[in-house]
Symmetry: C2
Subunit: 555 residues, 2 copies
């Protein structure tokens, strides 16, 4: 079989699973607008629209009190996900049979016991394809890996299953999993539903596009350099990169298994912050560390917008201290990003419960040298072999990160140690940098507010600057992205005409910006906390959303 045959077979399989959905997924016009997010409301029944546009936490309530059946919810999301795929190419397969069987089981359980089976009873969860599902394909975006199937469900799926989840859709991922976009030779390019000329982001880009279409309210992504946050931000969703070793990563298809210098993490993408919290709490409450030995036994701390964690022991009067990092000193963010940041900062700076502090970057270019030297310590051999085995072409961004990247070298073991020492020295220096923000009463910053990238969702194959997200992977700081409720508007976001770029990266990014290119792209921001302070980051975002009267839902 040629690689084209393999791809054709995978696409036929996908089409077949979409065709199985009942009621049938509507067809779409051959001519599509750039922004396709309004189409589902035109083509789908009102009930389907209503169900799929609820927040995860509202769905949980409706399912728990019997107002909605798991079957109705599952059918609605299957239909909308099928439509989302026709519009953005975000799915690798739907699983209508498995999902409906599961939904019926849950409905029966509810009928028999008059209570939900767990905290996610009946909630449909979409899953990035490399997260293994028993007997289903497990290819990580490589044509040559097609046909490998997972021996069992990944541990995280087992836990979500225990909580009552319904798995119904698997989502696209790029070749190598190492793009901040989503393009491979099996399905082609996944596009951004707000503007189909832009990328959905990646590597969890199928999740991003599906969430942006409201074909998913809660999905699972993975992140080693921005792969949860880029797609969440590009579609105006919430996406959390937790600190490493809080959520289980067993059972994923990927190259470089056993690599620990830069740890990949799994995390949620959701249309609401409530969905993020439900996901984290449901998993961690099951004490996964008793089974996956790499995990840390930190219980999940409850959060609330009244700031119980932040203010604990502070008799309720300490201000939320927010650092603002506007620019990493290497690549200046595009005008819409700066507008989004300024809008939020302007609201916060007049609020009596918030103290804003300028937080300067600390050698972020050095951070990129370290992380990009450690990403492919075998010189990328596994990726090369996996791509070349089928004869499939190299996608442009695989070439960008593996071939054109001067930091990719085949390292010896002592060279890896040397870079690891550099990494720890940098982490210690950053800890000191953060400590240096302490106020007179001894409180350092709670969180740092910053861009998610040097622009909003870029045009296809142009996501070539990772540092606004990979910075926090290197430091292993929890970071969440969230919608500002704003989107790119040419009239509000003119290009800077007199700017002199600082370097080649900055020049590339500067020249990428043309206001009309980005029309309708959501403007998102990122909130970062110290290592292991995942709950604090969420709580701070709850407070900020409330104080700044920000939209709870991203659409």
């Amino acid at each position: 079989m040629t690689w084209e045959d393999v791809a054709a077979e995978r696409q036929q399989h996908r089409a077949k699973t979409i065709a199985e959905v009942q009621p049938a997924v509507p067809g779409v016009p051959s001519e599509l607008p750039l922004n396709v997010t309004a189409i589902p409301r035109q083509l789908l029944p009102a009930e389907v629209v209503t169900i799929t546009e609820q927040t995860t936490e509202d769905l949980v309530l409706a399912l728990a009190n019997g107002r909605l059946s798991a079957l109705a919810v599952t059918q609605a999301f299957l239909q909308r996900a099928g439509l989302a795929c026709k519009l953005t190419n975000c799915i690798t397969e739907l699983m209508p049979r498995r999902a409906l069987d599961r939904a019926q089981y849950l409905d029966q359980y509810y009928k028999d016991h008059q209570k939900p089976i767990g905290p996610l009873h009946g909630v449909p969860i979409s899953v990035k394809e490399h997260i293994g599902m028993k007997d289903l394909d497990w290819n990580a975006g490589f044509v040559s890996w097609v046909g490998k199937t997972a021996p069992k469900d990944a541990f995280i799926l087992q836990l979500l299953w225990n909580s009552g989840a319904v798995f119904y859709a698997r989502t696209t991922q790029p070749q190598t999993l190492m793009h901040l976009e989503t393009s491979n030779n099996l399905y082609g390019v996944t596009v951004n539903p707000f503007n189909r000329s832009l990328t959905c982001g990646g590597s969890s880009g199928g999740e991003g596009a599906l969430g942006g279409m409201r074909g998913s309210c809660l999905g699972i992504g993975t992140d080693i350099g921005g792969s949860i946050r880029s797609p969440a931000a590009n579609q105006g969703l919430f996406g959390l990169r937790p600190t490493s070793y809080r959520l289980p990563c067993g059972g994923f298809a990927a190259t470089m298994l056993g690599e620990e210098q830069i740890v990949p993490v799994v995390g949620p993408i959701s249309t609401s912050l409530g969905g993020i919290k439900l996901f984290m709490k449901s998993l961690i409450d099951q004490q996964p560390w008793l089974h996956e030995a790499a995990l840390l036994p930190f219980p999940w701390k409850e959060t609330s917008s009244s700031g119980t964690l932040l203010r604990q022991g502070q008799d309720g009067r300490r201000k939320l201290r927010v650092g603002v990092l506007t620019d990493d000193g290497i690549v200046k963010p595009h005008p819409p990003v700066l507008r989004g940041l300024k809008t939020l900062v302007d609201k916060l700076k007049v609020h009596p419960d918030v103290e804003l502090v300028d937080f300067p970057p600390l050698r972020h270019e050095h951070a990129w040298s370290i992380i990009s030297s450690l990403y492919f310590a075998d010189g990328g051999s596994e990726e090369r072999e996996a791509i070349d085995a089928s004869g499939e072409p190299w996608r442009p961004l695989s070439k960008f990160i593996l071939i054109d990247n001067p930091n990719v070298k085949k390292l010896s073991v002592p060279e890896v140690w040397k870079w690891t020492v550099e990494r720890e020295a940098y982490r210690d220096a950053y800890a000191a940098h953060w400590n240096s923000t302490a106020s007179e009463d001894g409180h350092a910053l709670d969180v740092v507010l910053c861009p998610v990238g040097p622009g909003c969702a870029p045009p296809i194959d142009c996501a070539r600057y990772w540092s606004y997200t990979s910075q926090w992977n290197l430091l292993d700081y929890p970071s969440i992205v969230f919608p500002t409720g704003l989107s790119c508007q040419p009239e509000l976001d003119p290009a800077e005409t007199t700017y002199t770029p600082r370097n080649a990266h900055d020049k590339y990014n500067h020249e990428l910006y043309k206001p009309e290119t980005y029309v309708d792209a959501p403007i998102s921001l990122q909130l970062v906390g110290r290592r292991y302070e995942d709950e604090k980051v969420i709580e701070a975002l709850e407070m900020i959303s409330e104080l700044a009267d920000m939209p709870e839902v991203g659409i």
Copy 2:
């Protein structure tokens, strides 16, 4: 300079620092008995004996309420440490000037403020030499590294200093730091004070011998395969190998910096369990994770022999569940070890608050393959280079672990990844093994009781079986060793005459055992907990000591 010149210079330096102690360290007879532990009481003033034979926690009290001055305590320990060195060769240098200056400062502080400066006010702490001290030698047991000095105090020393500690003695370590004994070409062999024909253990063997002589009540060791526990056990002391990333490891001289597959840890060796607790709590209460980024932000949980942690939420009635692992299935422990274990088990099994459960080993030979493959992933090049650079000879146990060890190979980065995957698979399997001990009410074992080694302190150069300790390094389980109050007695511990060894390791160990060889060697045992449950291990040992009426102090 030849390596012999370097060694002579180091020994002269040591002699000079011992000679500086006032009142003078007594001379010792040229003919010494095998057991030299009684000599200090014969040669030192009664007050010195009284001070140095207190537990750490009693010393802390006496210093905190002003009954003892820091100066008197420091002088007493300097004297006894100098004597200990003359009898066992356990010191690389004393620091009388630094220590007495510090003690005087603390006494002045106490006088001015009428309170101690911190929880370790005036407590003398001995330090394994590779833990850096500003401007002092930092050689890790290699002749070629002599002359390197630490640019500043290791972070752990800074924290102990904040707590009020007095540093007065630096202790011996073996060539490469990778022996379970202590022998190098700078100072020769450090011997066991209970029986000078036996090893003090290692690699923190200077700490072990010094503690055994009561020349230290609290010292710092490091452990990657048993290096805290072997010397603590060989001298009947308490020694804790904490879970990784709980205590700071920055500023140590060692090969393979940046190696993370098997993480070395630092931990306390003390004459009392109270000393272990004080050490852990004083450090962790300072939130070292805010500065050394690798550390985990677990606060220290208070423990007590009434079992507050173990029984939390169990309304005080749950039994302590102790697994008993008598034999790892590879090398059968010597008769004294089995007698020590049986004595304790017999006491515990009739106690209504304890439930004993047989805990079988799970493929411990596979664990050794993994850990010994990962110890020297560069094939031992750094150690070879560091030894060969000076022309010093290879000590027998350096040769044993680096040259004769079939698992030492120069690995590629992908080979390290492969072994890391094996390690995690084994850790997961062991977690399942531990979970499988759950009782009907859902409680798995709290702790496992087992030997520390296949025998008590072996004759010099015979410590060649690491698995009873390295097993828990591989799993990263906290493990503490403790004295049973018993020691080897030929009449109670006859050799087994009809035993057929299972394999070459077992044969070597079996043939090593001759009852008269081990006379007076302390019999110690090990208590192991699940990863990160350091406090629980301590609490369980407090309960066990109380229930079994075991000696609190090891001498």
